[in-house]
């Protein structure tokens, strides 16, 4: 009996540890002056170096939405609905997911492996010995960078998704541009854009939290670094997708 319960208890204990970690980190984020240089460096990394990936993936998501929407609606001869499909699917689901995937695979993995390398080189212990709070010095700048960059990322993803959807629909599939734009503007609401940004921010926070946690608690050795970044990517993708279901239910249910 205890053998069956043990993984469940371990899972709940892990969630508790992650929440404690989050509270400790948020305390440092909100109550102390941030480390400006480190925050700027992280913002550069998250905002500028990850942006090409977001742009490329969002562009190709938009093209595929237009292509699939066109062929799906062609069976019920509703080709003019492609605009609605691209706009709603892009803004509501795909753009936040794209930004989440980019954040998890590029930013999350590198945060986890960076912090794990600090842990195995005992730099974190050294900081604690010198009375520098590692949560303040390492974790808080990354949180701030992601809070600042996630909305911008979502806006870029939305823009490029719509742009490439328009290009494919008009130039490859031969849909009338005016009717395309009219259907988009009549069915897309401002609230959709707001919800999309909120979703992206939640994904950013979840990814930052999980990758900092797994990096911070990495086990020793070179394998520990690889395991930490792997676990960070997989867990944050899973958590984002599950959180997405709940957010969709609350926002549009």
């Amino acid at each position: 009996m205890l053998g069956v319960l043990k993984p469940i208890i371990e899972f709940i204990a892990e969630i508790g540890r992650i929440i404690l970690f989050l509270l400790t980190a948020l305390r440092q984020v909100f109550t102390r002056r941030p480390v400006y240089e480190e925050t700027l460096r992280q913002t550069w990394f998250v905002g500028v170096e990850t942006m090409p990936m977001v742009i490329v993936i969002a562009t190709f998501i938009g093209t595929n939405l237009a292509l699939q929407g066109y062929h799906a609606f062609a069976q019920i001869s509703g080709q003019s609905l492609v605009g609605i499909f691209v706009a709603l699917a892009g803004f509501r689901e795909m753009a936040p997911i794209v930004a989440g995937i980019c954040l998890a695979t590029k930013v999350g993995a590198s945060i986890a492996s960076e912090i794990a390398v600090m842990r195995i080189k005992e730099q974190i212990d050294a900081m604690e010995v010198m009375a520098v709070n590692p949560y303040w010095f390492i974790i808080a700048p990354r949180f701030l960078a992601i809070i600042f960059c996630a909305p911008l990322m979502i806006i870029f993803a939305n823009f490029f998704c719509m742009l490439s959807g328009y290009v494919v629909a008009v130039y490859q599939l031969g849909i009338d541009p005016t009717s395309y734009l009219t259907t988009v503007t009549t069915h897309l609401e401002v609230l959709d854009i707001g919800y999309s940004i909120i979703k992206g921010c939640v994904f950013g926070l979840v990814i930052c939290l999980l990758s900092c946690y797994y990096g911070f608690n990495a086990s020793m050795g070179a394998e520990g670094v690889g395991a930490a970044s792997n676990r960070a990517i997989v867990t944050s993708c899973l958590t984002c997708f599950v959180a997405n279901v709940y957010m969709t239910q609350v926002m549009y249910g």
Binding site: M53, I57, L67, L88, S110, A222, N230, C237, V242, Y252
Partner: protein, 265 residues
Amino acid sequence: MSENFLFRSLVQPLINMVVVIGQMGFFFLKFLHSLIGLPYVFEELILHTYRICFRCLLPVLGVVTPMGMIISMQGLAILSIFSAQPLLSSLLVISMLRELTPAMTAIMIAAQAGSSIAAELGAMRNREEIDAQEVMSVNPIQFLVVPRLLAVIIAAPVLTAIANFFGIAGGWVIGVPIKGINHGVFMANLLDFVNIEDIFSGILKATIFGAIIGVVSCFRGYYARGGAAGVGRAANKAVVESIIALFVVNYFLSSAIYSVTEKIN
């Protein structure tokens, strides 16, 4: 010219990208060349296929099932504008089979298996095991790369097929018990618009995605440099580059598949 800021920030990355793509193509040719030669290492191949399928199954299902749920929710929201709720299951099945399941499965395979392949090969390169094999005139591509790359190519369609089922089941869970669509209507419309091409195009896509993930992550791991940090960088690059590559290839594949199926019909 090379001191120019514009050149360094815009042109140089493009040149580097073309060079890396060429190197990957060359690596793939090497792989094909060793594929012809004997001996085959069947135990390794079976072991790696088993490991990849086993380790990726839970993450893949954990991503694809919520995806089906979301398609169901959003599809109902859009379809209720035209009061066409019974068409939900057709929409769900086509979007899962053709597009979403192969892409999402490939993302999770890249995240889970791709990074671990790159880390494994990178650690071997780092400990000079690969050089030792070359010295002993054992072809390291034959013994290390071929089993892993073939394993990813085999595992991707299998996982996609399993994930298709779970994605549609996730859509059913939202559609029928929660949103109250009739079970009979859901099942009746389920296979109405589905052709055999839809299923095969998804599987074909998954196979090609598997090949992309395998080539990129084996390449990054095989040529990893620079100690433990280099191994971490290789694993990270493997994931990022394979995800970008598979999204880019996805668009051209979809276009090609559509034009081919239209010619056939």
